[in-house]
């Protein structure tokens, strides 16, 4: 039957609540239960509090609130450490139990998407080793990186659908004395942020109502295995993923739309490291400049490693070509932490970001120079050997950033 334009416009004119029974894809929860019943996998279940939210086709996804195993991101920890420390700082503010493991490797997905110098078995074994390591601790994996999240969802599908792949991965894991573990949900940290957003709002210390922000939804969050991303009928009418945008709206930020929201950031995996002409061009021409021309935001916010790096670092060179740039870039976790009084440098670590963030902090009424001077004092103590480094004891306490 032909769908008319009128029918499409009518459908888009009100929030969409989708019927899970009409979903066009396999329900991964059921597939995993079947494999567990056959003794093929160990299914790790969420222990303790969780919240359920609808995903793209109306199924429910459980998001654990605590007892989480923080699967860190290469890009966060290597190049944007305030991203990772903000996620943990938020947990600490609510005394939520978490585990920051060292028995974790990269998912190696960035390398795989950049070079293909691996294969399906190798990638599935890396994921399964990390999940087995989380299972051994009793904590449930919370994935920091959008690429790890997407990559693991895709590998989960491959493991579910291909017995030969499961057998081969199990053979490798046997050599380490580990079982083949798959968690009942693969959860991205931005989904946890989404689940916690009203609790953040209750503890908000910085008024953000004067800020206009754009959102860049991360490709590997909602395009790879698309049905497993959170969609909320109250956000964009359920037509786009709700994470990030819902948080910003809860914090009182004006979220402005722009025409190229679906475009990727230009990261490219290999390109960002060795062929950045593509990365810079795409990030500036299709994302930053479009945002600037259409809504001129104070900030753009995203929820993945590569997007923060690409959108932030690509802006400098474009100034030589008189392009319209100059939008600071943060993750949702950093914005939430800042709203709750996290120190801009000890926790949010603004100094690792290169596009000028000072006007944004000034608009919020934050005297960044005062906190920068304080941080410089920390660095002097470290340089002189009087202090080995900054600890959570230095960073935990929220501060009244605005007068």
């Amino acid at each position: 039957m032909t769908t008319t334009v009128e029918q499409i416009l009518e459908r888009k004119s009100h929030p969409v609540v989708r019927d899970a029974s009409a979903a066009p894809t396999d329900d991964m929860h059921e597939c995993l239960l079947e494999l567990e019943a056959k003794g093929e996998i160990v299914l790790q279940r969420i222990k303790g509090d969780y919240v359920e939210f609808p995903t793209k086709y109306g199924r429910k996804k459980k998001i654990p609130i605590e007892h989480t195993w923080h699967h860190k991101s290469c890009g966060h920890c290597g190049h944007i450490p305030g991203y990772a420390s903000s996620i943990l700082w938020l947990h600490r503010q609510f005394n939520l139990d978490y585990h920051d493991p060292t028995d974790q490797t990269s998912c190696t997905g960035w390398n795989y998407y950049a070079s293909a110098a691996s294969n399906a078995v190798g990638q599935a074994a890396v994921m399964s080793r990390n999940f087995a390591a989380a299972y051994e601790t009793g904590y449930f994996p919370l994935i920091h990186c959008g690429t790890s999240f997407g990559h693991y969802k895709e590998i989960r599908e491959q493991l579910v659908h291909h017995k030969e792949l499961r057998d081969e991965v199990r053979r490798i894991l046997d050599k380490m004395g580990k079982p083949l573990v798959i968690p009942e949900e693969i959860v991205h940290y931005s989904e946890w942020v989404y689940a916690m957003r009203e609790r953040f709002k209750e503890r908000q210390l910085v008024d953000m109502s004067m800020i206009t922000a754009t959102v860049h939804p991360a490709c590997h969050y909602y395009k790879i295995v698309a049905e497993d991303a959170i969609y909320d009928p109250e956000i964009y009418g359920g037509q786009r993923t709700a994470v990030v945008t819902a948080l910003l709206e809860s914090l009182g930020i004006n979220v402005a739309d722009y025409s190229t929201w679906f475009d990727c950031c230009g990261f490219g995996f290999r390109h960002v490291l060795v062929q950045r002409d593509f990365t810079r061009s795409f990030a500036v021409l299709r994302k930053i400049e479009t945002m600037k021309n259409e809504v001129n935001p104070d900030l753009t916010v995203t929820h993945d490693t590569g997007c923060v790096t690409t959108l932030d670092k690509s802006q400098f060179a474009a100034k030589a070509h008189d392009r319209k740039v100059g939008i600071p870039v943060l993750s949702d976790a950093q914005v939430a932490a800042l709203a709750m009084g996290a120190h801009p440098f000890r926790v949010v670590q603004f100094h690792w970001h290169s596009t000028d963030w000072r006007p944004f902090l000034e608009k919020l009424g934050i005297d960044w120079q005062k906190y920068w001077d304080e941080f410089q004092g920390d660095l002097e103590l470290i340089r002189s050997g009087q202090k080995s480094g900054i600890t959570w004891e230095d960073a935990d306490k929220p501060i009244q950033l605005t007068a």
Partner: protein, 235 residues
Amino acid sequence: MPTTQENWNPGKAANRHPEATYEEKERLFLEVKNDVRYHDFLYGCYECGICVSACPSARFYDFSPRVIAQAMAREDVERIYDILTEDIWNCAQCFSCVRCPRQNNPGGLITILREVSLKNGLQESKDALQGYSRVIYKVMLKGNQVSPDMLQPDFFPDWGPWVQNFSQNMHVWRKAIPMDSIRGLTDVAWRVERKTLLELYTIWFESGNMDIIKELDESLYDLLVEVMQEELEDA
């Protein structure tokens, strides 16, 4: 030669790479087709172009995910070889193309094509990955893709004076991070236990990953094998 309006042939493609025999091209295609994921990634093609409209690489290169899905569906061996040698490294692997109404995954097909290209030592792929070997070395040996000490002004001049500033302050800035797992580290992103790294090395050997590295870069392979085997033997 890029595909243009003038040389576009909607039938099977002409032989643009006579340096390889048809049999060799067909063997490579069959290797792609026999990958366990191939049938999950290709269902047919309406030629609607939705994948192209969403594709960032199509905006900047002579590149089309639609052509790739089409060539695969038609099993056009000559054109698939063109794609293997000319196109695959332009893909940004963002997977915007998976909004395909036929549920195709052109990005996934490209992943398989890249793997086959590397496994068979195609020179075009070695050229595309020139300069990237140090990253492979890092992730396979240290268990992290990137590290702070990679941020050097020589490698990232386009990131502006920030890189110089960072580079000069890297050691003290890294100590000024509250997370125990990353504080003070400059050659890795976070601290990975030795036991964990040994398990990672086991995966690389057991999964056939090292064979791919050997085809890509023999000196990188020798270096990795020497370090990994020594560590595994010590353990």
